[in-house]
């Protein structure tokens, strides 16, 4: 468990930003989870690097959401005080939606 927590992966955006993310947070996305599945052993799992075809600003928001998701994973809905939608800039909303669909976030 502790090892998994310390495990980090690299997420790379299409415009060249890289994010070092805890694997625990990354695999909150279904797509990233299969991508990093060590048993299936795709290239990404081997290199621990995922190239995501999204702009850095979108990817950043996605990671932020994944962290939010992990943080409140075990909470009841009524106990969650902050609303993630408050943090979304309408300008990127549609693009973010597409990314979410792709990443099963």
């Amino acid at each position: 468990m502790s090892q998994e927590e310390e495990d980090f992966v690299l997420l790379e955006s299409s415009d060249g930003y890289t994010f070092v993310v805890s694997k625990k947070i990354a695999i909150a996305s279904g797509t990233l989870k299969t991508m990093l599945d060590e048993e299936a052993a795709f290239e990404e799992a081997k290199n621990k690097t995922c190239k995501i075809q999204q702009r850095g600003v979108i990817l950043l928001k996605v990671i932020e959401y994944l962290a939010y998701k992990v943080q409140y994973a075990e909470f009841n809905a009524e106990d969650i005080k902050e609303d993630f939608s408050d943090r979304i800039d309408p300008y990127i909303a549609l693009e973010l939606l597409t990314a979410a669909d792709f990443l099963e976030a």
Binding site: G30, T31, T34, M35, D37, E39, A40, A41, F42, E43, E44, A45, K46, C50, K51, I52, Q53, D83, S85, D86, I88, D89, P90, Y91, A93, L94, E95, L97, T98, F102, E104
Partner: protein, 811 residues
């Protein structure tokens, strides 16, 4: 919501639409890249592929409405790959032996090992193909995750992984190009067969292959069950049935019953183990059922009857583990068939043994010199009762008869012990089996007409003084067992009669070993049969107690009214409690020497009780008397009758003799009693009288004189009254008559009791009610009840009503 709110707040409604991802790549290229990737996955090169990239291809194809192309394309790729797998990996490993093979044995030794290895290789190939396939399918599923989500589910198609399974079934297991299916099933079967024949096979391989079959489902239209259930199991069961059907016949021929059962047990365990380890546990019930149906059900009887090793032999030699195995196996046979067969056989066997016991006694009787014709002599035989056990030197017919009675009971008890033990340890105390055992005992015990007498004799032997030194506990347990046998008796009234006789003798001749044991026995009988049954027995005890108590008061009475010359102790018996032969009035003229004492007691008794009549019974008492012979005096203990006879010689001189008829006229004893008395005095061990001429039998022409020259090393001599213990044929007939007579009364009483209650009753109801009420004492015959009804109608207790077959009670 959040977005629109945000937009409204900032007042900047212009939102840039996201660019459609990768619309720049043409679909055709996308597909060819994907197809390439899938092939790479199938060739185990997944690590060179970018998941993100191919996921995106799949994602785009679905998003751009090319889902069907993708779906079918992938299907085609998988099929192609599977065909190649079959071709390259599986076909070369086909076992030589081919797919069609009977259930017969597959040759042994090296060939069998070879075959096992071949089969194993083939199964391993199937297994590796399966693993290869499922491995790549997992990756393909991962890559095409979005297709499953966005296309397959949306269009009601199976997920791609399941498609892979279906394709594996149609392209490998049920391949139309290669006979994989036949090979697979027959190899599995032959692996099982090899193991059944004692070869070693690699169970894990078989397990993995059956797992594959269990994992795969046949198409819906074929029932949708697993391939294991549809393709393998029926064939497997058929082969097994065939195999075990043959094996049963073969093994029955080769082995004895115990070995056969052991084998069956082992087979059952093996097959159970098999289903757990490399078949499916769902097969277990069917397989066990099949084994039982083939190995046991058709052969239940032949195993039981197997000469030299069947049930009889197992019982003979107390082979408890074998019997237990037999029982547990037979219990498994459906519809209780096994148990029923076992019970029937057991019952027949016990009855056979019981018959042997019954015949054993009859034979032993016949072997002795005594039969019906010499019956009379039996009684007169000088050997006393108490000596029956010890008189081995000159085994007299009586002691023979007693011995055979005792032996019969002991044999029955031994038999009972044996079967109780077997029931407990081998048949787990099964109640139904117990019922059968009891029925068998009941049937053979009642087949012996003398059972009630023998049983009572056995009890007599145990309660009597001086037979064997036994501890109370032993006696207690012996009595406990006899009660068990008593339960089996149907003629309980007959037993009561004998028991009363024996008890009377024990009490009057003070032969009871212990009052406690006697009372315990009566209590036991009371518990079995209720108050009525033992009422008279208890009356007998009361008489004895009262007589003892009155002895003291009689002594006091003598102090006041003048003493008498002899020490007299009297047992006053209530005639109705005691058995008829004992209290039957017998004539006897008591000599003058005794008269005063008798009169004194008569007076004493009349003074205490009025309206009671005393009758003196000389045949029941004993007397102690000192007799002077030439050498010395001896104290003789003899019966009252013997004393009466002996007193006739009191004044006689040497050489004086009395003839039989003289003795008879002065004593007035009945012939039978007199002969017996004379025999005990003149022909037995201690001959205080001499008979002229000498001989064992007493004839009316004989003369007797006092034997002055009698010598004996003992100062005190007990002269036994000869009395038969086992009944002679004639006596037995008499007893039977008396029993029959009493039964008549009981039946009548019972009829009246019932009719008084019911007033009117139909013939059949009445008969069954009577039979039921009397069943605890004896089983009345139909004709007996009918006759009694007639009798009661004649005496106007009952009348026939107008409708046929009914009776009315006339108050």
């Amino acid at each position: 919501m959040a977005m629109s709110m945000g937009a409204a707040r900032r007042g900047k409604p212009k939102i840039r639409p996201p660019k459609r991802p990768t619309s720049e790549t043409p679909i055709k290229d996308t597909w060819s890249k994907l197809a390439h990737a899938i092939r790479e996955i199938q060739n185990h090169n997944a690590s060179k592929l970018s998941y993100e990239e191919h996921y995106r291809y799949g994602y785009n194809m679905v998003l751009h409405k090319h889902g069907d192309q993708l779906y079918n394309g992938v299907k085609a790729l998988i099929s192609e790959h599977l065909d190649r797998l079959a071709e390259e990996k599986i076909v070369p490993t086909f076992p030589r032996s081919g797919g069609t093979r009977g259930a017969g044995k597959l040759g042994g030794g090296a060939e069998a090992i070879e075959r096992a290895l071949e089969g194993d290789r083939f199964l391993k190939a199937i297994k590796s193909a399966w693993e290869d396939h499922t491995g790549s399918m997992r990756k393909i599923r991962d890559i095409l995750k979005y297709m499953d989500k966005g296309y397959s589910t949306a269009n009601g198609l199976p997920l791609i992984y399941d498609v892979g399974l279906t394709l594996f079934l149609s392209h490998i297991i049920r391949s139309s190009k290669h006979p994989i299916h036949t090979h697979l099933i027959s190899t599995l079967l032959s692996q099982v067969q090899l193991e059944r024949d004692g070869e070693t096979i690699t169970r894990s391989t078989v397990r993995e292959c059956t797992d594959i079959l269990l994992r795969l489902n046949v198409p819906e239209r074929e029932g949708g069950k697993t391939v294991y259930v549809t393709d393998f199991e029926p064939e497997f069961l058929r082969r097994s049935a065939e195999f075990y059907g043959l094996e049963a016949v073969e093994e029955l021929d080769k082995n004895d019953a115990a070995q056969y059962l052991r084998r069956v047990e082992r087979r059952l365990a093996e097959e159970a183990d098999r289903t757990v380890h490399y078949l499916s546990t769902t097969t277990h019930p069917a397989l066990q059922e099949l084994l039982i149906a083939n190995l046991l059900t058709p052969h239940l009887q032949s195993v039981l009857d197997m000469p030299g090793s069947g049930l009889v032999t197992m019982l003979d030699s107390d082979r408890l583990p074998d019997l237990r195995r037999l029982y547990t196996l037979y219990l498994k046979v459906p519809k209780d068939e096994g148990k029923t067969a076992l019970r029937t056989a057991l019952r027949a066997d016990i009855e056979e043994r019981g018959k042997a016991v019954n015949e054993g006694t009859i034979e032993r009787n016949d072997a002795g010199p005594s039969t019906a014709t010499i019956g009379q002599d039996d009684e007169d035989d000088p050997k006393g009762k108490g000596k029956a056990k010890s008189s081995s030197t000159s085994a007299s017919p009586i002691s023979n008869a007693i011995n055979s009675a005792l032996r019969w009971v002991q044999d029955v008890l031994d038999l009972k012990d044996k079967f109780d033990g077997i029931l407990e340890t081998a048949f787990m105390g099964d109640k139904q089996v117990q019922v059968s055992i009891n029925e068998a005992f009941q049937s053979f015990i009642n087949a012996n007409p003398r059972a009630p007498e023998y049983l009572s004799l056995f009890i007599d032997e145990n309660l009597k003084k001086g037979t064997k030194a036994r501890s109370d506990i032993e006696i207690e347990s012996a009595l406990e067992k006899t009660i068990v046998l008593f339960r089996f008796l149907s003629d309980k009234d007959k037993f009561e009669r004998y028991y009363k006789n024996h008890l009377a003798r024990r009490l009057l001749y003070a032969r009871s070993a212990s009052d406690d044991s006697e009372k315990q026995m009566v209590t036991k009988l009371k518990m079995e049969m209720g108050f009525q049954f033992t009422q008279k027995l208890e009356g007998m005890f009361t008489d004895m107690r009262l007589s003892n108590e009155s002895a003291n008061s009689f002594r006091n009475y003598q102090n006041r009214h003048g003493t008498i010359s002899i020490d007299l102790s009297v047992n006053v018996l209530t005639a109705s409690y005691w058995p008829q032969p004992i209290v039957a009035t017998s004539t006897c003229t008591f000599p003058s020497a005794l008269q005063p004492a008798m009169e004194t007691f008569q007076k004493y008794y009349d003074s205490r009780h009025s309206g009671r009549r005393l009758t003196w019974q000389g045949n029941l008492g004993t007397a102690d008397v000192r007799v002077r012979f030439k050498n010395r005096s001896h104290d003789l203990n003899l019966s009252t009758h013997a004393l009466v006879v002996l007193l006739l010689f009191e004044d006689s001189k040497a050489g004086d003799s009395l003839s039989y008829s003289e003795i008879k006229s002065s004593t007035d004893l009945p012939d039978a009693d007199l002969i017996r008395t004379l025999q005990s005095l003149a022909c037995a061990k201690f001959r205080v009288l001499s008979k002229i001429p000498k001989g064992r039998d007493v004839n009316p022409s004989d003369k007797f004189e006092f034997n002055e020259s009698f010598t004996s090393p003992l100062a005190r001599i007990k002269i036994m009254q000869v009395a038969s213990k086992v009944e002679s044929v004639k006596e037995r007939e008499e007893t039977q008559e008396m029993v029959d007579e009493e039964r008549k009364h009981q039946v009548e009483a019972c009829i009246v009791r019932i009719m008084k209650d019911r007033k009117t009753m139909s013939h059949n109801d009445l008969i069954s009610e009577v039979a039921h009420q009397l069943s605890s004492r004896f089983s009345p015959s139909m004709s007996l009840i009918k006759k009694r009804i007639e009798g009661l109608i004649d005496r106007e207790y009952l009348e026939r009503t107008n409708d046929m077959g009914s009776y009315r009670y006339l108050a």
